[in-house]
């Protein structure tokens, strides 16, 4: 029994001990005074943090003593500042004095004391935030609107006596912004903000700091809505901007109206239409075919392939076979080259019936050249081909010429045997006409009424062969009307028989009226031409003056071969043809270029023989 009781008591004691131990009761932990603060340098508060309370109710006491004193005091006020605090009122606060204070925690198990804390109120001043923060948007009439921020110092701080001097700081931001905009306000209790975004809601805060202390906490946020219609002056600005833009628009419209076309062409350049190089359609309208054709400018010699395509193959007269005839040209020299015995039946160089292989014979060799040339002027006269509507100005001075022209036209239209229509068809394509043709024609026309033979005789330098040709011509052309016409080819034949045809291509007609001549490349044994003179160099015949009806009066060029001939011709001036001949020569000269300015780009030929014959 005793054993049981004793064990029970021991067990109970142990239990109690264990229970107490299990409960964790212990002396309190060491408290710590973690903060002391004075809001106005007249009172202050200290807070401590208790340590572990040991599971038991713990009593905290704060005790202190001041510098220069030996008396220990206890905290006068544990309540005012909340739990675990000690509030020192004005009576208990001394400035420029160190307080040494400690906190004592006591519980059943024991007690503990905190480390002493040395506090000088001078250096723990932290005021309350400023109060009564007011915001107002001011919009003075003559100045920019602004936000006027006003506040009051914290109520506890004595500013008036100068005991504390406060400095303020404000910060503001639009409601949704992330960063604050901070401004230092100094010792004033108001502030003006000028840079504000209209229509925004702003948050404003303010805080203060004593002259030798810590910054206070930020005050409560104040809100202000900035009106979007900030100032009436904006309206004025907009009106001004509108008026200015209207003025600018008017100026632009006026400038466009004045120079609209040039501006449009500058901005939108006109699309170029199809155009033939060197071909001006306006010239067509005006009917100035010379200019038109000159504009086309067959300037290349030898001619380009284009010209070549347009060329008609001409009869080539072999020089070796018939010296009277003009030596054969190469095809590079488009022109009325007559090639004896090389007639191409398919050659559509505008020959007459004489040109046809059946008709052509040795007898007809000479006249062969003529029909094409003979007809060519006719064709040219025909208005069916507008491009060849070149007025026949072989002898413009003679009224009779005109009549002759008409006659000639009539003759041309009537003639059916010779020229052949075939020739007529092909004539437009042949831009090459011998000067001989024109000269012959001119001579013929001028001597209307006269014996054609005689005139031809006078013209021609010929000989027996020429007479033969005349007869041949007569054979083919029984009609008297055409007799005169036929004379031309005869004369032409004579011309040809007299000397080999020598063609010189007019390279171009320049502004001064000089015709640049290019001698044919093949040499000919033309006695009238100086040997070695034939070069591919250009020969120029300068025009002294232009007569009314497009007659060019040539000036002898000492350098040019043809001019030499010309001079020679001038000296030899035959009695029969003097002025008239000269005129005719000139006319020939003019006629030829006009004929040559064929739309097909033919080359112009000048036969120096023309001048020679006319003067002989």
């Amino acid at each position: 029994m005793k054993y049981n009781v004793a064990s029970t008591v021991v067990f109970m004691l142990l239990l109690f001990l264990n229970i107490r131990l299990l409960n964790g009761e212990s002396p309190p932990g060491k408290p710590t005074i973690f903060k002391c603060r004075s809001p106005e340098k007249e009172t202050f508060t200290c807070w401590w943090s208790p340590g572990t309370d040991g599971g038991l109710p713990t009593n905290y006491t704060l005790t202190y003593h001041k510098e220069g004193e030996t008396i220990t005091h206890e905290c006068p006020d544990y309540k005012t500042s909340g739990p675990n605090s000690c509030y020192f009122s004005k009576k208990h606060t001394s400035i420029w004095t160190i307080y040494i204070m400690t906190v004592n925690a006591t519980n059943k198990m024991g007690s503990s004391t905190s480390d002493p804390r040395y506090v000088d109120v001078t250096y723990i001043v932290e005021p309350d935030p400023p109060e009564n923060l007011t915001l107002e948007v001011k919009q003075p009439e003559d100045r920019k609107p602004y936000l006027w921020i006003k506040w009051l110092p914290p109520s506890l701080v004595d500013i008036r006596s100068g005991w504390l001097t406060l400095q303020y700081e404000i910060r503001l931001k639009p409601e949704k912004a992330a960063e604050w905009e901070t401004h230092f306000a100094g010792q004033q209790t108001q502030f003006k903000i000028l840079s504000l975004y209209p229509g925004q809601k702003y948050l404003v805060q303010v805080r203060c700091k004593p002259d030798h202390g810590f910054w206070s906490k930020w005050s409560q946020e104040s809100f202000i809505q900035i009106p979007s219609d900030f100032t009436m002056k904006d309206t004025t600005v907009w009106i001004f901007v509108a008026v200015l833009s209207a003025v600018i628009c008017l100026i632009m419209v006026w400038a466009v109206a004045l120079k609209g076309y040039s501006m449009m062409t500058c901005i939108f350049p006109p699309v170029p239409g199809p155009k033939i190089k060197g071909f001006d359609t306006h010239l067509l309208e005006k009917g100035k075919s010379e200019e038109l054709l000159s504009a086309l400018g067959c300037q290349d010699f030898p001619p380009t392939s284009d010209c070549e395509d347009l060329l008609v193959e001409f009869l080539e007269v072999d020089d070796s076979e018939d010296q009277q005839l003009m030596p054969a040209h190469s095809k590079e020299h488009p022109g009325q080259g007559v090639k004896p015995l090389h007639l191409d039946p398919d050659n559509d160089s505008g020959r007459g019936s004489c040109d046809s292989p059946s008709l052509l014979s040795e007898k007809c060799e000479e006249p062969r050249a003529n029909p094409p040339t003979f007809h060519t002027p006719k064709v040219i006269e025909q208005p069916e081909n507008p491009q060849t509507n070149i007025p026949f100005t072989c002898n413009p001075h003679s009224i009779s010429m005109e009549g002759k022209i008409h006659y000639y036209h009539a003759g041309g239209s009537k003639s059916s045997t010779w020229p052949l229509p075939q020739a007529a068809q092909h004539n437009p394509k042949s831009p090459y006409h011998s000067v001989d043709d024109m000269c012959a024609l001119a001579t013929l026309l001028d001597k209307a009424g006269k014996d054609a033979l005689r005139s031809s005789k006078t013209i021609e330098t010929g000989g027996e062969e020429k007479a033969e040709k005349q007869k041949e011509m007569e054979r083919f052309h029984p009609k008297t009307e055409q007799g005169t016409a036929w004379l031309l080819p005869q004369e032409k034949a004579h011309f040809i028989s007299a000397k080999p045809l020598d063609y010189v291509e007019i390279h171009k007609v320049n502004k001064d009226g000089a015709l640049s001549l290019l001698p044919k490349q093949k040499e000919n044994s033309d006695q009238t031409e100086k040997p070695g003179a034939l070069e591919i160099s250009k020969e120029y015949a300068k025009v002294s003056r232009v007569m009314d009806n497009n007659i060019l009066e040539l000036v002898p060029d000492p350098r040019a071969q043809s001019v030499v001939l010309f001079e020679a011709s001038a000296k030899e001036a035959p009695p029969s043809c003097q002025q008239n001949q000269a005129e005719k020569d000139l006319a020939c000269f003019t006629a030829t270029p006009s004929n040559c300015t064929h739309p097909q780009g033919g080359l112009d030929y000048l036969d120096p023989a023309c001048f020679t014959h006319s003067f002989h």
Partner: protein, 221 residues
């Protein structure tokens, strides 16, 4: 006779009217006196404020650099040489003291620091690892303290002229401590000196601001 009469009147008014506020500051009553006093006080406050800022920075740097963990504060209790000067310890005391007395007190404190500041500069220069920041501040404080003293003497001359009290100041005898060989003792001597300087400069600044608001702005700062 007129001069003696006015002086007598002044003394009588001084005895009868203890209210500090009603006492005229400028006996001659000239306008120039009032204006210049404001400027003098403004300048004095600026100087005192500046000196305390420098002192506070100097102390903090020294504390951070040399006094960590040494527990100097525990020993620097009641160790300032100017503690013998009875200075007001709170606002009420400061507001009760007469402005002339307060001005004289400021002068005394300022004069008490002439000597210590001089030695502080020379001793900091000779310190091992002479910290430039502390030295430069010490030099500056010494310079500014002299200027403030001159300004205060002018103010005193304007506030109550003709009364030249004995130059009372506290004598500083801490020089041997600054020159002790024991580093710990020497450092504590510096610490103590800087601690006292910080406190006294704050006192001067506070008193002058009180005086300014009281004298110049009639307690309505």
């Amino acid at each position: 006779d007129n001069y003696k009469g006015s002086l007598l009147l002044l003394l009588v008014s001084n005895l009868l009217c203890k209210n500090v506020a009603s006492l005229p500051i400028c006996p001659s009553g000239a306008v120039n006196c009032q204006v210049s006093l404001r400027d003098l006080f403004d300048r004095a406050v600026i100087l005192s404020h500046y000196i305390h800022n420098l002192s506070s920075e100097m102390f903090n740097e020294f504390d951070k650099r040399y006094a960590q963990g040494r527990g100097f504060i525990t020993k620097a209790i009641n160790s300032c040489h100017t503690s013998s000067l009875s200075t007001p310890e709170d606002k009420e005391q400061a507001q009760q003291i007469h402005h002339e007395d307060l001005l004289n007190l400021v002068l005394r404190v300022l004069r008490s620091w002439n000597d210590p500041l001089y030695h502080l500069v020379s001793e900091v220069r000779g310190m091992r690892e002479a910290p430039d920041a502390i030295l430069s501040k010490a030099i500056e404080i010494e310079e500014q303290n002299k200027r403030l003293l001159e300004g205060m003497e002018k103010i005193v001359g304007q506030v109550h002229p003709g009364v030249k009290e004995n130059e009372i100041y506290s004598v500083w005898s801490g020089l041997p401590s600054l020159q002790m060989e024991d580093e710990d003792s020497r450092l504590f001597a510096f610490y103590n000196l800087l601690h006292c300087l910080r406190r006294d400069s704050h006192k001067i600044d506070n008193y002058l601001k009180l005086l300014k608001c009281r004298i110049v702005y009639d307690s309505n700062c």
